[in-house]
Amino acid sequence: MGNYQWNWHVIFEEVAGTNEHYYQWLLSGLGWTVAVALSAWVIALILGSLIGTARTAPNKWLAGLATAYVELFRNIPLIVQLFLWFFVLPEMLPQAAGDWMKQSMPLPEFFTAMVGLGLFTSARVAEQVRTGIMALPRGQKNAGLAMGFTLPQVYRHVLLPMAFRIVIPPLTSEFMNVFKNSAVALAIGLTELTFQMRQITGEYAPSNPIEVMTIVSVIYLILAFSVNRLMALIERRVRVPGYISGGK
């Protein structure tokens, strides 16, 4: 980079015309990223577990509905889904409800991103939960039923506890993805980390884009890696010695 004037202190500089500093923008962006990713993950985990379980249910209608849900949310690009929730849905609702969504709803960008990202991720979590259940030997279910458990009890006490342990590694990837995918929310104007990066490197502090982009990349790396370590810790804590995901 021949004559590039490196200035890593750029993020500590004051924003012209305000009394804020750029690092405060990045911190606020980080806050929104963490908030939307974690809340979307809660939605994804709860809905994904329910839907994934439903896909293995003996009831054909229930399993079919769950399959339709997964295919719907898994096959449309995330950015398109966010656009649909944000721009299209209010136009399809009755006038009053649409106007409320557009003008009176609190934190519209945040809640839209939370729901959109949560539903998108839930379809992927559902697939993994289903895989986990299917990976168990059929005998487990039958043994549970033979011992007098009802079907829900078999799921609750026999199948799901083992299934979740099996799918911790892919769920780790999904948990990390939710943080990285949250960057898409800038498309509907959520002022998260990537948004702040674009804001700073656009017109505000345009002379040092490389430093700001590098710093933001490192923040994402740290975020995703922390999630990775957290999940590894959980995996170790809950392992069943001698069983499938318990081995080192």
Partner: protein, 296 residues
């Protein structure tokens, strides 16, 4: 005898080389050595620099830049110089200029003091004002009318700064919302998510011109900021900047600028044959009358 001949030939060639090096420095030397001049263009900065229906970069700034390329060809006496086009974005244009990927950027880049830390600018070729786009029937005429309303700006621009500054001064309270790009910000006003879109007036005029029913929208209010555009060049390269400035000065003096302006701002332009219809502003007339490169 033989020896001294060779020696003098060597001295002569070394001297010739030195003269050459003295004449050509920086970008001119790079262009002369490689036989290629590289222009950075924008993909959707209508009507300055954008892709037409054949995916070819065209526009007001591109026309001016091609004149500069002609001048470089003449100066280097290399009519076969190859012009290479590289697309840039608002995030990539400065790094690509500094690292030598592009030799000049022809788009819609504001000449700011902040940018001058890394790059240089030719004399200005356009002056834009930051104003508001609103629905024509909204009754919004000035900033005061925005109290309690949502105002959209595009990510990466500084328009929200002007609103915030005015907010403090005028005791109004607005909600800042953001579109990912200009067409999305426009969509926010169209669908009623925001009451006003604050942006460079020329970009607003382009958006309105492209809308199915342009009469539904209006550009109102005072200029919140006035920003000059220049051709972005490498820093500390006076020889190349001189070529660019002299080319522009020639176009300004001969009045050719009026023809080029007319072509892009008053006549139908590709790809949809829409007319922006924005007569030359007083500020631009000033910049043409007395060319300058003082940034903001």
């Amino acid at each position: 005898m033989q020896k001294s001949l060779i020696l003098s030939a060597l001295v002569a060639s070394a001297f010739a080389g030195a003269v050459q090096a003295e004449e050509l420095t920086g970008t001119l030397k790079k262009v002369s050595d490689s036989g290629i001049i590289t222009i950075g263009y924008r993909e959707s900065s209508i009507p300055f620099s954008y892709l037409d229906a054949n995916q070819k970069p065209v526009g007001y700034a591109m026309d001016l830049c091609s004149k500069v390329v002609d001048a470089v060809k003449k100066k280097l006496n290399k009519p076969s110089l190859i012009t290479k086009m590289v697309p840039v974005t608002s995030q990539t244009r400065i790094p690509l200029m500094v690292n030598g990927t592009i030799d000049m950027e022809c788009g819609s880049t504001t000449n700011s003091k902040e940018r001058q830390k890394q790059v240089a600018f030719s004399d200005h070729y356009y002056v834009t004002a930051v104003r508001m786009l609103v629905k024509a029937n909204s009754g919004i005429k000035s900033l005061d009318d925005l109290n309690g309303k949502a105002v959209v700006t595009t990510t990466g621009t500084t328009s929200d700064r002007y609103i915030k500054q005015n907010e403090q001064g005028k005791q109004i309270d607005v909600k800042n919302v953001y579109g990912k790009d200009h067409s999305e910000s426009f969509l926010m006003v169209e669908t009623g998510r925001a009451s006003a879109f604050v942006m460079d007036d020329i970009l607003l005029a382009g958006l309105i011109a492209n809308y199915t029913n342009p009469k539904e929208f209006a550009i109102v209010g005072p200029a919140l900021s006035v920003e000059p555009y220049g051709i972005m060049l490498r820093k500390d390269d006076p020889a190349f900047k001189k070529v660019a400035d002299e080319t522009l000065a020639g176009i300004y003096k001969s009045g050719e600028i009026n023809k080029i302006y007319d072509k892009w701002f008053m006549q139908p332009i590709p790809p949809k044959n829409i007319t922006i219809n924005l007569p030359m502003s007083e500020k631009l007339k000033e910049a043409i009358k007395s060319p300058n490169d003082v940034g903001i």
